[in-house]
């Protein structure tokens, strides 16, 4: 009797294989918290990349590598250029054509690869840029081009991972669990940033080119490992969706879907709110420390603690938001409170300079952190809740595009102002608090304006609950699409 190798092999493969494929087994109704915790690991890598680009490398390039500050600023701003494309990335993932019926995982993987690639070439690109070793003779474009490419790759990968990762989280959880997930995502981002800042600080204390290479490439490995763990077996296979995509007759166009999306009640208003609020809080972020140091004469150790107070307030905000939203509070009301708390916070900070009261300043800082936490949580939860099933990626992409751009511009403007204060002593000799107070007043006013806009933001439930037909996948002559054509 001959042993049937073929049947044996088939049998073995069929028993083993599915375990080694990155699909979720079934689309379960209930996704356990442990799985969501695993998914939220991608936020740690995003936090890591953010800190490395904007914080650590900023310093290393200027101090140790002696790259001109303006060039460094340009490099660090590069990822910001990619931010508006998050809406497009989200849309692409919504309409992705896959035989597996996947929409999110391929993009998370692609983003991870870009992030990894950027980190892998970044240390050498920076060494070439700074003219280390034999690179003194290297042509200028090589250093500039490769460094720019590295920053762009990391930035683009980071934006892609975050956008699509959040969309996947939205796909996976039920509406009532969304506040919990948003809280988890924010806390993991914060955790990643704090841990990264601390670890980079320790590792780069004794700087050497070799150490720089180790740290950045270590980052690359950590990123790819954490993201692989995060996306493993998260997204279920969907043969029905795959079959529907195959039958798709028209290629979905971004402009059509964007017009449809922005037409939803309050979608545009919400984006404006997100942009202005994030801008205000982002700008405050970079100005609080120098303000405390120069105007209130706090020591360096004390202003560093200020950052901890701000982060603590933000964490408290996330906690309160998760708790109250979980008990059925409308996110819109949370957004309002988030903007509302910021106004007296900025007032306290402004008056602290007049009466020289450090405690008032710390209280104001805590209020700013709290407001930023409530506001951030509220807007993301509201975005998730409003996102119609077929536009989840687009909605979260739009959120991310506006949020990242506004925060980036806020931080950049804040930094610019700080530099002006430092470098133009004649302006600040008489009243060092003047430029700061102008900006804080502006921020308070913007938040007050945000508050006014939110008053007209209605509580909208998920749209496809009202119009069942819009659940149809994209790109066919579905009823919702025909309706949309009729509207136009």
């Amino acid at each position: 009797m001959m042993f049937d190798y073929r049947a044996f092999a088939y049998n073995q493969i069929s028993r083993i294989a599915p375990r080694y494929l990155p699909f979720a087994d079934v689309a379960t109704e209930d996704v356990p918290l442990s799985r969501l915790l695993r998914l939220s690991l991608f936020q740690v890598t995003v936090g890591l990349a953010l800190v490395l680009l904007a914080g650590t490398l900023n310093r290393v390039m200027i101090v140790e590598l002696q790259v001109p500050a303006s060039l460094v600023a340009g490099m660090i701003a590069l990822p910001l250029v990619v931010a508006p494309f998050r809406a497009l990335i989200g849309f692409k993932s919504d309409t992705f054509s896959s035989a597996l019926g996947w929409r999110r995982t391929p993009f998370i993987w692609k983003g991870t690869m870009w992030q990894f690639g950027g980190f892998a070439i970044m240390p050498f690109a920076l060494l070439v840029l700074s003219g280390y070793g034999d690179a003194v003779d290297a042509p200028r474009w090589l250093g500039l081009g490769s460094a720019a490419l590295a920053f762009l790759l990391v930035g683009a990968g980071m934006h892609m991972v975050q956008t699509v990762g959040l969309a996947l989280a939205t796909d996976l959880v039920k509406d009532e669990d969304q506040p919990k997930v948003v809280g988890l995502m924010y806390v993991m981002l914060l955790f990643g940033m704090v841990a990264a800042a601390f670890i980079f600080g320790v590792l780069l204390e004794n700087y050497s080119p070799g150490r720089l290479i180790q740290v950045i490439q270590g980052c690359a490995v950590v990123t790819i490992v954490l993201n692989a763990i995060a996306m493993w077996k998260q997204e279920p296979r969907d043969r029905e969706r795959a079959a529907q995509i195959l039958e798709r007759r028209t290629v979905p166009r971004f402009s059509d879907h964007w017009k449809q999306f922005i037409r939803y009640d309050g979608a545009f208003r919400l984006l404006v709110i997100i942009g202005l609020g994030t801008f205000s809080y982002g700008m405050a972020d970079v100005l609080l420390e120098p303000y405390g140091g120069e105007v209130l004469r706090m020591s360096v150790a004390d202003t560093t603690k200020l950052t901890a107070v701000l982060a603590g307030g933000t964490l408290l905000g996330f906690g309160i938001a998760s708790f109250t939203l979980g008990r059925g509070l409308a996110p819109v009301r949370l957004i309002r409170s988030g903007a509302l708390i910021g106004v007296p916070g900025f007032l306290a900070i402004i008056f602290a300079a007049h009466i020289g009261d450090v405690l008032l300043f710390v209280g104001g800082t805590c209020a700013i952190g709290l407001g930023a936490g409530l506001f951030g949580h509220g807007t993301l939860t509201e975005t998730m809740r409003r996102a119609p099933k077929e536009h989840v990626g687009l909605a979260l992409g739009a959120w991310g595009a506006v949020q990242a751009t506004a925060a980036g511009i806020g931080v950049a403007l804040g930094g610019l102002l700080r530099d002006i204060v430092v470098h133009v002593p004649t302006v600040t000799a008489m009243a060092p608090e003047m430029p700061y107070i102008t900006v804080f007043t502006l921020e308070g006013l913007v938040l007050a304006f945000v508050l006014v806009i939110t008053l007209r933001l209605k509580n909208v439930q998920r749209l496809d609950m009202k119009t069942e037909q819009s659940i149809m996948p994209l790109g066919f002559d579905s009823p919702s699409r025909r309706n949309f054509e009729a509207i136009r």
């Binding site: 896959s98 070439i121 070439v128 034999d134 690179a135």
Partner: protein, 52 residues
């Protein structure tokens, strides 16, 4: 037995089209990592040449 049936689920748990897609991710990954490695080597060679 029709091996060309696109809807047949093979012992791996995948149809032909699905398997091809999984494979395409592998190929893409290899290409991307290859290009990155090449670029990294060029940059390293510029800073610290190891040949000649």
């Amino acid at each position: 037995m029709s091996d060309n049936d696109p809807d047949k689920v093979w012992p791996t748990g995948l149809t032909l089209r699905e398997a091809e897609e999984v494979h395409s991710y592998l190929i893409d990954g290899t290409r991307v990592f290859g290009v990155i490695a090449l670029l990294a080597h060029v940059l390293v060679a510029v800073t610290t040449p190891w040949l000649g």
